[in-house]
């Protein structure tokens, strides 16, 4: 066989190589939330490897409340016309028609996201039939593998979006890593039991155990506010970083965006991290996740 094995894909291995392949091209990069073309240009000039087009960043969704939905296609199109890097956009969990619309627009990736208000409390979108690839969030290995089973070609470990508090992102990547480590030492018989425990498909768990990592690219997302946060997530094993409110809710978006890009490239070099962390203005104020009532937490959405 010349092509990669149909890893992680159950339906169409050909398409899946293309879908998961784009995520591999984003590795070692920063994907930034932007709400208009002007911010998208700032992100592109800072060195973002992609942008996430959305109407309100998570911090505003949190503050303003109400139902958060897919963004206005006109705004997404404007961003697509303005930058040459990949453009992602968010759809509500389970809202497959929003996904159809985003695909028709020609976005490069769809994020089926808990940051928006879920449209279905039982089902996620069946992602295999779409030509456009999907990224989905997870808090643990079982959730990651369920999303991949549905067709997600990229995973992000969920932090608590819009808080600027990295604690949840750390907790969830540590959970995923420790579950992968456990699986790696198991026999097939043990993996079958573990698969039931995680509520995950056996074949994907086995693939994960063999590779010693998730079978698709995994970014950190939610709560990353500083270059040090970004490098922390990279050292904990993430392939790249999403930054939402952390950039455009900070004192100097341009400087901070550039600093986070460089921190992700040089994540193991404390000297460079010290340099890029210097004089970049105020970080976003932030909300303390520990003091937040459960009902206000977004990361718990997803089934």
């Amino acid at each position: 066989m010349t092509s990669s094995k149909p890893s992680a894909s159950t339906n169409d291995p050909t398409k899946f190589t293309i879908k998961s392949g784009l995520a591999k091209m984003l590795k070692g990069g920063v994907i930034m939330d932007v709400i208009n073309a002007e911010q998208a240009r700032i992100a592109e000039e800072a060195g973002a490897c992609a942008v996430m087009a959305l109407e309100r960043v998570p911090a505003d969704i949190r503050a303003q409340g109400g139902v958060a939905r897919m963004s206005d296609p006109h705004m997404i199109k404007e961003i697509m016309d303005t930058v040459t890097i990949p453009v992602m956009a968010k759809a509500r969990i389970g809202h497959f028609v929003e996904c159809q619309i985003l695909e028709a627009l020609g976005v490069d990736y769809i994020d089926e996201s808990e940051v928006l208000t879920p449209a279905d409390t039982v089902h996620h979108v069946e992602k295999h039939p779409f030509k456009v690839p999907f990224v989905c969030g997870c808090r643990n290995l079982g959730e990651a593998l369920r999303r991949i089973d549905e067709g997600a070609a990229m995973i992000r470990t969920k932090g608590e979006a819009g808080t600027g508090d990295v604690v949840e992102a750390v907790k969830h990547i540590r959970t995923v890593s420790s579950e992968i480590n456990r699986a790696s030492g198991m026999s097939d018989m043990e993996l079958r039991v573990f698969a039931k425990e995680l509520n995950a498909p056996f074949h994907l768990l086995k693939e994960t155990a063999e590779q010693g990592r998730l079978p698709v690219v995994n970014f950190a997302a939610g709560g990353v506010a500083t270059p040090a946060d970004a490098a922390l997530m990279m050292q904990l094993g993430c392939d790249g970083v999403f930054v939402g409110s952390g950039i455009f809710k900070s004192g100097d978006a341009t400087k901070r965006a550039r600093a986070i890009v460089e921190a992700v490239t040089h994540f193991r070099d404390p000297k460079i991290l010290a340099e890029v962390s210097s004089g970049i203005g105020e970080a976003m104020v932030g909300l303390n996740v520990e003091k937040m009532p459960n009902g206000e937490r977004l990361a718990g959405r997803g089934w």
């Binding site: 066989m1 010349t2 092509s3 990669s4 094995k5 050909t14 190589t17 293309i18 392949g21 784009l22 591999k24 091209m25 984003l26 590795k27 070692g28 990069g29 240009r41 592109e44 000039e45 800072a46 060195g47 973002a48 490897c49 992609a50 303005t82 930058v83 040459t84 890097i85 990949p86 695909e103 020609g106 976005v107 490069d108 990736y109 030509k131 456009v132 690839p133 550039r258 890009v261 460089e262 992700v264 490239t265 040089h266 070099d269 460079i272």
Partner: protein
């Protein structure tokens, strides 16, 4: 006495890990020769680059790689590596864009190129992600790569994976210094000059894509500025090699093997100014 060769993979952003895996896989085939010890390293700094006999610039986002390289003082050392020292360099997808002397459809305000290949690359020739595709490629150069394996190994098509891929839109005359003619073309950026001043080899076309669908072809015709070079997806000029597809996304190490062989030949021919003994 075995020879030590260090091959770097530019690790500023993108799929560098995948290249290192395939290089390692390809180098295992050299074990029978026994006279080369390969070392594959991630390159993020000028010091790391300087220790390399050859370099791969992987797929990723070319704007990101170029901006980070410029900010961390790596852009000029890269130009020096590729264009002055002419050490063997291979770029895939984003890497091909960076190695072009001329590129269009770049971001607003243009982007910095390394250069080294006298071609004009159309940055988003094949469109957005929903237009990404796979296609079997007949790569004649692989057939010359090894004679010690069965023929099906060398003749079967290579699975070309094209993701938001660029293509070579035009071959440019081989000139020393920058492509001044290209600078005048609207919407095109060029790489700055960086010795040597003597002309290097002509650009060779290494692969083209046949049999594209008519619909896509019609669309491409509309975009195309130059007829001669429509679907060129791999080129070589002296020591510099570029592909618009991603061999690093396959498990097929044939191109990596072929390229490592050409690295060996280049080093043996003394086209490389690095003192081999110092690179151990």
């Amino acid at each position: 006495m075995s020879k030590h060769l260090t091959v770097g993979v530019l690790a500023l952003q993108g799929a560098f890990h995948e290249h290192i895996k395939l290089l390692t896989q390809a180098s295992a085939s050299f074990a029978i020769d026994g006279d080369v010890r390969w070392r594959f390293v991630e390159v993020r700094t000028p010091v790391e680059l300087d220790a390399c006999n050859a370099l791969i610039i992987p797929g990723g986002e070319s704007t990101t790689v170029s901006l980070v390289a410029a900010r961390t003082g790596l852009l000029e050392p890269l130009r020096d590596f590729v264009k002055a020292k002419r050490r063997p360099t291979w770029g895939t997808c984003a890497g091909l864009i960076l190695l072009a002397e001329s590129a269009n459809k770049t971001k607003k305000g243009g982007q910095e190129l390394i250069g080294g290949l006298d071609v004009r690359v159309n940055r988003n020739y094949f469109g957005r992600q929903t237009e990404s595709f796979e296609a079997p490629l007949d790569l004649a150069f692989l057939q010359k790569a090894r004679t010690d394996v069965e023929s099906s190994e060398t003749t079967r098509p290579f699975n070309g994976i094209f993701i938001r891929a660029p293509a070579v839109e035009r071959l440019l005359p081989s000139v020393p210094g920058e492509q001044k003619g290209e600078a005048a073309v609207e919407g095109t950026v060029i790489a700055p000059s960086k010795g040597p001043t003597t002309p290097v080899n002509q650009v060779e076309i290494m692969a083209t894509i046949p049999g594209r669908s008519n619909a896509l072809r019609a669309k491409l015709e509309a975009l195309r500025l130059e007829d001669e070079a429509g679907d060129i997806v791999a080129v070589r000029q002296g020591n510099v090699f570029g592909t618009s597809f991603h061999p690093e996304l396959t498990k097929d190490a044939r191109i990596h093997f072929w390229w490592l062989k050409s690295v060996m030949e280049a080093v043996d021919a003394g086209q490389d100014s690095l003192d081999i003994s110092s690179a151990i």
